[in-house]
Symmetry: C2
Subunit: 392 residues, 2 copies
């Protein structure tokens, strides 16, 4: 992480490009920290609303502050009419991530604060977008299935509203708690492709909606947000525990990875996976279908053994490994896994956008404008000679 | 531009992050090169359609190839019905850049090639998006003014169709030529905030529509695409040539910049500005209103003198300086200046996305995932202790 890390054609891996006060990842010890607090602690003891406050404002909320934030979220979960109308216009098989990326810039229209460039205005915009993304995602699930969107309820929190608006029925309190924890665990993870995209767009002084829409685009890539979908596809491909060894063998022989194992940063089990695994088991028990949790657990065990035996190396589960079976058991359609990720991570993105907008961790605002090395044509010592069209 | 350029909190200025074969900027000599050719040459001798081919395919088209590309553009300029329907749903004062960013991901739905991950499929998607952005921009201008969108015409090229679909009447051939040249001049400029955003989103394997929508978000920032709008605002503020000196004086004293003067890369006049200036003059003469060109020209002259005299430094015009009065004279509404920039630059973005997708200039595909330096709280040698909500 020093200034001489090679950066040409490396995707900036390992190069520290910006200071941040938002989160830290200790890959060696398996610690993920939001604003100084261990995420393992936060997952047990706080709510997603508290995390919104913590990530945006760098401290935990007082009681009245949290009440105020909840009220603001309740209000902002009601989408402007044009967002519903625009979604109604779309073919029902439009992929949800495309819909999310498209709808977020349109949320800007209803935001009176957007031109103020004041910290408190940006905080309000952030809450608007966090609330709005929950409603857009659930509304699209309803609309594409030919159902009316479900209006949010003020007596439910963010996690509860998501499940209620998705399904149109009262969610079990235990499910709400698990979903709330999942939202906390996915809310922030320092720099990564989508967060970097959000900061970069914000650095041109584009508004927060433009920045977060761009981040959604980045998350939609299969190397980023799509990983837990691929874990679920793997579990379905394996199908039953007697097929695990054969699957692992095949993957190891072809030099392929096993989805959900290994991470760019963690050298131990991902602290989030350790919390998601028992949740996945518990939700399986509630719904009466523990198959996918059990299969996951067995794949983890045997893959770890196989890597040890054949490659003499340890391999670790990442966040996507158990979120797959957890979300699946909760009845969330697989193509909403990435949107759910976005519904949670939007909070971290917003914190990063604000940090960038107001240079809260850097000496001054930076417009990201890297250079490139031209290795293309020159046709000799000078430029190529243009041959007119008629002579070609 | 070596590997040890400091990159922490510098917005990656001057740090070369990727190899590219697409374009090169020689800031010292004022040369801009697309795929080996001087842009000054291309602006005089080629058409925007040739530039699309050149930027995407690294060589100039043969006659049949250009005819094929023109036919493909003609076909793709016809937008899917849902795009019109979604735009119709929006409040008429929705800012055009938000509309563009929102509509581009929705173009993906009609693209059958999107999942193929083949070079030729990506080329087709690129042409679809280049054609589509022209139609979206002009359709939104019509819709927001309560008019029906104008359907594209196969006997017009890209520049001609843009002007025709914008105004609903036959454009003057000379205007078409000038607009075509403006499209060529804005088509590509190596790495910059929006191009870097597009490449970065593409690096997660998100589709090209997601990447280009994100780039539009980046371009919407006033530090990036908004610059020629601010030049025009400046010209209007100055109002007449007898107010120029006072304005320049005031700006120099307050340490402010003069919009359209100075550039991160060029140390001489921007080669694009040298071509745009006479075009701006000529269009003014055609429309009978040379005021804005003349004012620009006078501001350039006096600002250069003032910088020389007071700051002992040379200052140079950049691309935005004369594109402002040019687009204004062409009757393009000021809040469409950035969309017009996007309608042109989309071609460069697409070339960069494809270069990234297929690692055409790098040893292997890179997922941009930089690191960050945590400088936030730790509350002591270990993590902060979480105080439960009830005890706060």
């Amino acid at each position: 992480m020093n200034e001489c890390t090679p950066i040409l054609d490396t995707g900036l891996r390992g190069a520290s490009v910006a200071s941040t006060r938002i989160s830290d990842v200790n890959g060696k010890l398996g610690k993920l920290i939001y604003r100084g607090y261990l995420v393992a602690d936060l997952a047990q003891k706080s709510s997603y609303e508290e995390i919104i406050f913590l990530l945006l404002r760098e401290r935990l909320p007082q009681k009245d502050e949290l009440a105020e934030l909840r009220a603001e979220l309740n209000e902002k979960r009601k989408l402007p009419r044009e967002i519903f109308a625009a979604m109604e216009a779309l073919p029902r098989d439009t992929p949800p991530m495309d819909v999310l990326q498209a709808m977020v810039p349109l949320l800007a229209h209803g935001d009176a604060h957007i031109k103020e460039r004041e910290l408190e205005s940006s905080m309000k915009s952030a809450v608007n977008i966090i609330a709005g993304l929950c409603s857009i995602t659930t509304a699209w699930e309803r609309i594409r299935n030919g159902k009316d969107p479900v209006m949010p309820r003020d007596d439910l929190g963010h996690a509860g509203n998501f499940l209620y608006m998705l399904k149109g029925r009262d969610p079990l309190p235990e499910m709400v708690n698990f979903f709330d924890t999942a939202l906390i665990l996915h809310a922030e993870h320092s720099f990564n492709a989508s967060t970097f995209t959000a900061r970069q767009v914000a650095s041109t002084r584009a508004h927060i909606y433009a920045a977060i829409s761009a981040a959604i685009g980045s998350l939609s890539g299969e190397l980023h947000g799509g990983a837990n979908v691929r874990v679920m596809e793997m579990l379905k491909e394996i199908g039953s525990s007697d097929m695990i060894d054969e699957y692992i063998e095949k993957r190891l022989e072809s030099g392929g990875l096993i989805m959900g194992l290994g991470h760019a940063v963690y050298q131990v089990d991902d602290p989030r996976a350790l919390i998601l695994a028992p949740m996945s088991e518990r939700v399986g028990k509630i719904t009466g279908d523990t198959k996918w949790y059990e299969l996951s657990s067995e794949v983890e065990k045997r893959a770890k053994q196989a890597f040890k035996a054949r490659k003499k190396m340890d391999i670790f589960v990442n966040v996507d490994f158990y979120s797959a079976s957890l979300f699946y058991a909760m009845g969330i359609p697989m193509d909403l896994f990435s949107p759910v990720f976005a519904v949670s991570r939007v909070c971290g993105w917003a914190a990063h956008v604000i940090e960038e907008q107001f240079a809260l961790a850097a000496p001054k605002p930076a417009l990201y404008r890297p250079g490139a090395s031209y290795i293309g044509e020159y046709c000799g010592p000078d430029e190529c000679v243009f041959v007119p069209f008629d002579e070609r």
